[in-house]
């Protein structure tokens, strides 16, 4: 179908008063040969109907709407399905941040219109990826603890078939071993039955849930909607080799106890009467709250919140869970007899939210003694009792308590595996083996080999180029966008929930499980419509690889934050469309520029850059290209305009899906066109990154090395390219960044390539 682009310039919101609309129309009609260019106004009261009528009568299939910021939402397909809309930001981008009826303001508006029209012209009609027709909507839940069970029930109740796998013989996880739960509802006073047995029954009897216990995962291949899972039995039963297809996976593998060295200093595993909080829970469940050594009834029980026992070197983080467990277990002791005393020593004590009421209730018990303090030692007495010495207690002096049982709180570690580290280790092993075979020594690989990941056994066994499990962050929690998308992981369609994601109590686990179940349902449904899940929810574009020109450099397969691309033996990328989040990082990575979306490509942005009119040196009007992340930096610029802040009229802003999609060739294009400088605005990176796509701005920064090379080739100053990390709230900072950069440009002078 032939392209027919209609250009519509809005004159509302003071655009009409600030700009020469006639001159703008000429740019569209005469310069860019748009078949239709009209003005519109009053979008709230049918102003857009003109466009709808023209689409009908003129057969337009692309609309360039030169009006407000694209952040102003007109809904999905405002002018009909399949009608591409390109937004040109005249309001926030031009008239609200520039003086009206000024030559520079007009030039800015015209450039943006040129860029918008050329982008529309370059855009090709979108079609869905072909796999969308084959999407399976069943869900796989890995882990049969409180989180897994809840997730299975939630998903099944929503009408989806669920397969629940548990490596142990029985369902219930840790919770099945616990005696009672701390209160979960108002007034937060009394212990509750933990209720996990009822949940197990519900799962076992649910018609939409298939339970496979004593089962682990042997392999997962494919992507969302198309995962092929192979199970292995761990009780000697023959494993089914037939792969099972599922749409999404919930990883609810829970936690494992963390027992650092400092526990041994407190007599753990040395004295019979020093037990862990887990052992104590089991003792309570069996009704034997007596000394483990000889069964004598316990009169004094001391609970030690271990992170307070020594310095913080052993526990690099702590949660409220151990505090709450401690309070609960103190009540077990008090429940037994009114003459038994429970002592709690802690360094940090956390009872968030309404749990404070439970803390107050336990505190009010005359036989519970709470104090901050550092436990110096636990020693065994002749009679088998223990002497606990506490310094820095609230009592103002060093004290010791004669205890019958000492209970040590353990840490919670996620039952996760570091997929990337395992992959790196496997690669290193292979490289070393190869080097040895060839008689070479490869120092680096040996070093990598020494960093054997713990644990080294994968859990999900993903057949992903970037490793067999979810990438993890510090402390081995699966990486996600913690603030905005808590259940997401860096593997699309795989959702982490419960204690594997963050240390949490049963109540939070249930909430997490329900959230993850809903996210996985959303995932299979959207994938079946060919849409991206998040954060570009509903986007049906996807990257296409022109593989004839691929040089197997593996940059895309390595850099994709979501492990979309597998590799064949040679290193050619093998895309999995359903895993993709459409950020364009692969497009930015590719030195051959073979990765494109139908509505977002290297050529498209390059064409936009080339459409900007560069005045020659004698006009004294520099030009600076701003490549801005559309998630944070671009809306921040809009906000700056809405706040009435102004910035230099010499900048031309292009929003990018992610700064990670920035291809180096654009830098070369812009500079050789005569742009005097380039500002890249991305999100904060590092451990507490803010990037929607995890590493976009970090990758852009890393490509800075290549940018420097380009500058050297062109014999230009390094200062001409800057990268800034900004947040959406930095709207006051960004005009400052721009204006400061203009000063820099003034100092180093104009780009010598101008007018060439």
């Amino acid at each position: 179908m032939e392209d027919k682009v209609g250009v519509y310039i809005c004159t509302g919101c003071s655009i009409g008063e600030a700009l020469d609309i006639e001159a703008l129309s000429k740019v569209a009609l005469d310069e860019l040969k748009a078949p239709v260019c009209k003005t519109i106004a009053d979008c709230m009261n049918g102003g857009l109907d003109v466009i709808r009528r023209d689409v009908e009568s003129e057969g337009l299939n692309k609309i360039v709407l030169a009006a407000c910021s694209p952040r102003e939402d007109f809904g999905k397909d405002p002018f009909g399905q399949g009608i591409h809309v390109e937004r040109v930001n005249l309001r926030e981008g031009v008239v609200w941040c520039q003086p009206p009826n000024d030559e520079d303001t007009q030039m800015m508006a015209e450039d943006y219109l040129r860029m918008g029209i050329v982008k529309a012209q370059k855009t090709q009609p979108l079609d869905l990826f072909e796999e969308h027709e084959r999407i399976n909507k069943n869900l796989l839940v890995v882990g049969g603890g409180i989180t897994g069970l809840t997730a299975a029930v939630e998903a099944a109740e929503a009408g989806y078939d669920v397969i629940l796998v548990e490596k142990e013989v029985d369902l219930g996880g840790w919770m099945a071993k616990w005696y009672k739960s701390f209160p979960t509802f108002t007034p937060y006073q009394d212990l509750e039955d933990n209720g996990v047995s009822g949940l197990v029954e519900q799962v076992q009897s649910h018609p939409k849930i298939t339970v496979r216990t004593s089962t682990e995962i042997a392999k997962i291949e494919g992507g969302p909607g198309l995962f092929d899972v192979v199970f292995k039995s761990n009780n000697g039963q023959p494993a089914s080799s037939e792969p099972l297809r599922v749409g999404a996976v919930i990883q609810a593998t829970g936690w494992k106890p963390f027992e650092p060295e400092c526990l041994e200093k407190l007599g753990y595993k040395k004295f019979d009467n020093v037990v862990s909080s887990i052992q104590f829970e089991e003792m309570a469940k069996s009704g034997r709250l007596s000394r483990p050594s000889e069964g004598k009834p316990a009169k004094n029980v001391v609970f030690i919140q271990c992170e307070g026992s020594q310095d913080d070197e052993y526990f690099s983080y702590n949660s409220s869970v151990s505090s709450m467990v401690c309070l609960k277990q103190a009540l077990y002791v008090r429940e037994k007899s009114d003459n038994v005393k429970a002592f709690i020593f802690y360094d940090h004590f956390r009872t968030p939210g309404q749990y404070e009421d439970f803390y107050k209730r336990v505190q009010q018990d005359p036989g519970v003694f709470l104090s901050k303090g550092q436990v110096e030692s636990v020693t065994e007495q002749d009679d088998g009792s223990l002497l606990v010495t506490v310094a820095g207690s609230m009592l103002g002096e060093k004290i010791s308590i004669k205890a019958d049982i000492v209970v040590l709180s353990l840490g919670m570690m996620p039952a996760s595996a570091d997929g990337e580290a395992i992959r790196a280790w496997i690669d290193a092993k292979a490289a070393v083996a190869k080097a040895e075979q060839e008689g070479n020594k490869v120092q680096e690989d040996v070093l990598a080999l020494s960093r054997k990941p713990q644990p080294d056994e994968p859990i999900l066994h993903l057949n992903y180029r970037q490793g067999p499990d979810l990438p993890v962050l510090e402390h081995h929690y699966p990486d996600s966008h913690f603030i905005c998308f808590p259940y997401e992981t860096r593997r699309t369609g795989i959702y982490a929930a419960g204690c594997v994601r963050s240390p949490m109590d049963a109540l939070s686990c249930r909430e997490d499980a329900a959230g993850a179940a809903l996210k996985s349902i959303q995932c299979v449904e959207m994938t079946s419509r060919g849409e991206a899940v998040h954060p570009r929810s509903g986007d049906i574009s996807y990257p296409e690889f022109f593989l004839q020109r691929c040089t197997q450099c593996k940059r895309c397969t390595e850099e994709c934050p979501f492990g979309v691309l597998n590799e064949d033996a040679k290193g050619t990328p093998l895309p999995n469309a359903t895993r993709c989040r459409r950020c364009g990082v692969c497009m930015g990575a590719c030195p051959e520029r073979i990765v494109s979306f139908k509505d977002y490509s290297v050529d498209m942005i390059a064409s936009m850059i080339k459409k900007v009119e560069i005045p020659d040196e004698f006009d004294e009007k520099p030009r600076v290209l701003v490549l801005a992340c559309e998630n944070d930096a671009y809306p921040a610029l809009d906000m700056a305009a809405r706040k009435g802040l102004t910035y230099s009229p010499y900048v031309r802003v292009i929003p990018l899906r992610c700064l990670g999609s920035m291809n180096i060739v654009w830098v070369a294009d812009a500079l050789s066109r005569g742009f005097d400088g380039i500002i890249m605005l991305g999100c904060k990176y590092g451990d507490d990154y803010q990037c929607h796509f995890i590493r976009g701005s970090e990758l852009a920064d890393r490509r800075g090395v290549n940018v420097k090379e380009k500058l050297e080739q062109l014999a230009l100053e390094n200062e001409r390219v800057e990268l800034h990390q900004v947040e959406i709230t930095d709207y006051e900072k960004i005009p400052q960044i721009i204006n400061n950069f203009m000063d820099v440009i003034e100092e180093i002078g104009f780009n010598p390539f101008k007018g060439m």
């Binding site: 005359p366 310094a391 609230m394 009592l395 002096e397 004290i399």
Partner: protein, 411 residues
Amino acid sequence: MTASVVENRPQDSMAASKGKLVEPDLNFIREISRLGGDSFKKCYQCATCSATCPISPDDKPFPRKEMVWSIWGWKDHLIKDPDVWLCHQCNDCSAVCPREGNPGDILAVIRKYSYLYYAFPKFMGKFLYEPKYLPIIAALPFVILFVIVALFGNFQPEGDIVFKKFLSHPFPLDFLFILVAMFALVSAAVGGMRFWKALQEGPRPPVNNPRGFTAGLIEAVKEVATHKQFNECDKANPRFYSHLLTFYGFVALFITTSLVFLGLYLLDLETPLPLLNPIKILGNLGALAFLIGTGMMLYLRLTDEERAGKNSYNDWLFLGLMFGLAVSGVLTEALRLAGIAVAAYSMYFVHLALILSMMVYFPFSKFAHLLYRTLAIVYYHGYAASASEAKEALMENKQELKDETVQPNAA
């Protein structure tokens, strides 16, 4: 009940590094809860109470530490702590406590517990703290007096109203009261000595260079006479005036009684004294002050709950007795002057019975604060707070002030 804190033997060096062995006394915790201190467990040691208290000392300030000791059932510390007695219960601390832990109440409860703890003989303490014994303890003095009047006195004397016709001097009246006074004094002496000894072993052991008993006594007399500390915590508060009036009224009446007693035997003084006799004037003024003072206290306790703190049985018992004493005394005199014989003798009987109660119950009731608080103040100033240290602190302060004033000039 065993002592709640056992010091490790110092020669055991291993044990010494283990600090104090703590065994919270659960019975004690329950007991103070029962006596009206049921909110102390709410404390989370923010120390707002100690910061608010206008009279809390700078070193080891109260009442925070007492709150912690109470939570931990550290009976041994609490009953030997002079600080508990420095508090005049203005309840500023309870008003500002963010946890509604009522530190003011806990100190009152510890004092209450101490009356019981140091009581000699012990059963007397019990009698006075259990409301169920109220009919007995109230009736007993009346019954005893009734028997004595029946045996040795005259219920309906004839002629002018002269009270010695009702019960004559020296026998049986003085005989009875001297006997009772002896009992009270012995009880108080034993209790006081136990307390004094306990203070030495408590959380404020004597300092190295104490100022001594005399210095402490002077401080105590100054304090009792001026109510200076009391005024510190009760600025512009009627509680200060009511207590001052009650105290001086009581002192005046005590002096009057003593003078008349001595006069009877040494000077053959004739009673009743004429109204213009200086002793009589002192007595009547004292009675008035005592009546107004106790009346005010009663009124305040009934109307200002926050200031009064938690009212308990023994507070009411003591205050009721005092007010009863005042009212019956004033009425006795009034009725005598009015010449209504039956009523005057009846009221005299009531008044005597109440005096008897006051004297018998003195060492065990809240009245004993006269003894324990005074001893605690003597101890605190004479032994626990070092004179030289106080002086040093004063000098340091002055030096600092000096430095501060010099600096601007130098600049």
